[in-house]
């Protein structure tokens, strides 16, 4: 998906995500968290995918809620409120807000900037930023085989059930046999695909983008550096 406000080049997007993620991770005070969340929300809106990003945030939201519930009960000496054996502590509340805020802001930025990129452009971004050719190849093939492996697993699982195999996680041996069967079938197809790719002259250097970054891409990265520095400065100076 394209965005009128964010860089098009996948290298710029990956660099932006890394700079913002590490900048946000450097924040140490809960008071800075609203700024992080606002920035992350604006980036998700600029990417044009706020609903999609929000849908993918379900897992991190549960984890963030757990930080918010657990940390105030286990961290710090200053009691804010007491109910029987439970003590709500000020330091824990701040730590919980900080951990939850950093988590949600970083994941939001990552998903908004990168999850909308097509897989081959993501591999190109890694290659363009200096990742080894083998890693870029492995990523492309993994994404290609992931769908095939899923289909092989569904087939193997159906065959197992038709033979009377048990459901549920207790039958680890049965699941392992299903996995092995899917691996064998998937591997044969994967070998054929890889051989064909090599015969056609596939080389991962073809994947790497060679064009220079455009002003809009450079501007995006500069903006990310500025936002990350502003977050850290606000955190340390306030």
């Amino acid at each position: 998906m394209t965005s009128a406000l964010l860089p098009e080049d996948p290298r710029a997007r990956l660099a932006m995500a890394l700079v913002l993620a590490f900048g946000f991770a450097a924040v140490e005070r809960a008071q800075t968290v609203p700024m992080l969340l606002t920035t992350a929300a604006l980036i998700a809106i600029a990417a044009g995918t706020p609903t999609r990003t929000l849908r993918k945030l379900r897992g991190p939201l549960v984890l963030a809620a757990a930080f918010l519930v657990v940390m105030p009960l286990v961290a710090g000496p200053t009691t804010l409120w007491r109910a029987g054996p439970l003590r709500l502590r000020a330091e824990g509340l701040e730590a919980g807000l900080l951990l939850a805020g950093r988590l949600l802001a970083i994941v939001t930025v990552t998903l908004a900037l990168l999850s909308t990129l097509p897989p081959h452009r993501l591999a190109a971004a890694l290659r363009g930023l200096g990742a080894p050719a083998l890693v870029a190849d492995l990523m492309l093939l993994t994404l290609r085989y992931a769908t095939e492996f899923r289909e092989e697993m569904l087939r193997a699982r159906l065959a197992r059930r038709l033979r009377g195999g048990r459901r549920g996680w207790r039958d680890v041996g049965g699941h392992a046999a299903t996995l092995a069967a899917a691996l064998i079938r998937g591997q044969r197809r994967a070998e054929a695909v890889w051989t064909a790719m090599r015969l056609r002259g596939h080389a991962s250097t073809l994947v790497a983008p060679t064009s220079a970054l455009r002003p809009r891409d450079v501007g995006g990265v500069a903006c990310a550096v500025g936002l990350a520095l502003a977050a850290v400065a606000l955190d340390r100076l306030a």
């Binding site: 984890l63 990552t110 993994t142 994967a190």
Partner: protein, 207 residues
């Protein structure tokens, strides 16, 4: 079992990237010495897809999530290729699903890749004499070692104000929650290798 973004202090996350890059560099150098480094690529990509899919099945268990790790299986099946495979799988999970983390990518790689290499070493040492036992030990040992490294990182990463007793109790519960996984992954690796031996010996590690 991944460290999420936001939990690790930025210094620890950066150290994780440095350590992860060193391990990745070492593994790529060892792979480059192979007669045909690309020959194992389909197997590595297929198992990365398995790892990617299995780890995406996540149940939140604060401060992290519980799901199959497959470090032992990756190590036994891929050897040095397990390291790039694990890093690629973790990167895809972080950027496509928000699972794990972008800042904690290095640390998460260090949680899973060394256990995979230890599982591979275990298989190489014992696999010919007692294949089922070696596979079981490699699978189960991979989980145990990953748990130990994970616990170490969590202890370093959590705020200093956290009550030490509560921290120990939480880690105890977390380790207990993963014990079935220790047994399960041991059985999984043993069964997968036995099926491969009978049906497709060419896929066995070292074949």
């Amino acid at each position: 079992m991944h460290l999420p973004d936001g939990l690790a202090p930025v210094g620890l996350a950066a150290a994780g990237y440095a350590g992860g890059a060193a391990l990745l560099g070492l593994s790529l150098a060892r792979i480059a010495r192979l007669p045909d480094p690309g020959a194992a690529m389909p197997r590595a990509a297929m198992l990365t897809a398995v790892f990617f899919a299995a780890s995406a099945i996540a149940v939140p268990a604060p401060p992290t999530t519980v799901h199959p790790m497959l470090a032992g299986l990756m190590g036994v099946m891929l050897g040095w290729f397990a390291v790039p495979a694990i890093f690629v799988g973790l990167f895809l999970q972080a950027v496509l699903f928000g699972h794990g983390g972008l800042t904690t990518l290095g640390l998460n790689g260090l949680i899973l890749a060394p256990p995979a290499l230890v599982a591979w070493a275990t298989w190489r040492a014992l696999g010919r004499r007692a294949p089922t036992l070696a596979a079981g030990v490699a699978g189960a040992g991979g989980v145990v070692l990953a748990l130990a490294i994970f616990a170490g990182f969590v202890l370093i990463g959590l705020p200093a104000a956290v009550d030490a007793a509560a921290e120990r109790a939480a880690l105890g519960v977390f380790v207990l929650a993963h014990l079935p996984l220790v047994v399960g992954e041991g059985v999984l690796v043993a069964v997968v290798l036995r099926v491969l031996e009978r049906v497709e010996p060419g896929l066995l590690p070292g074949a």
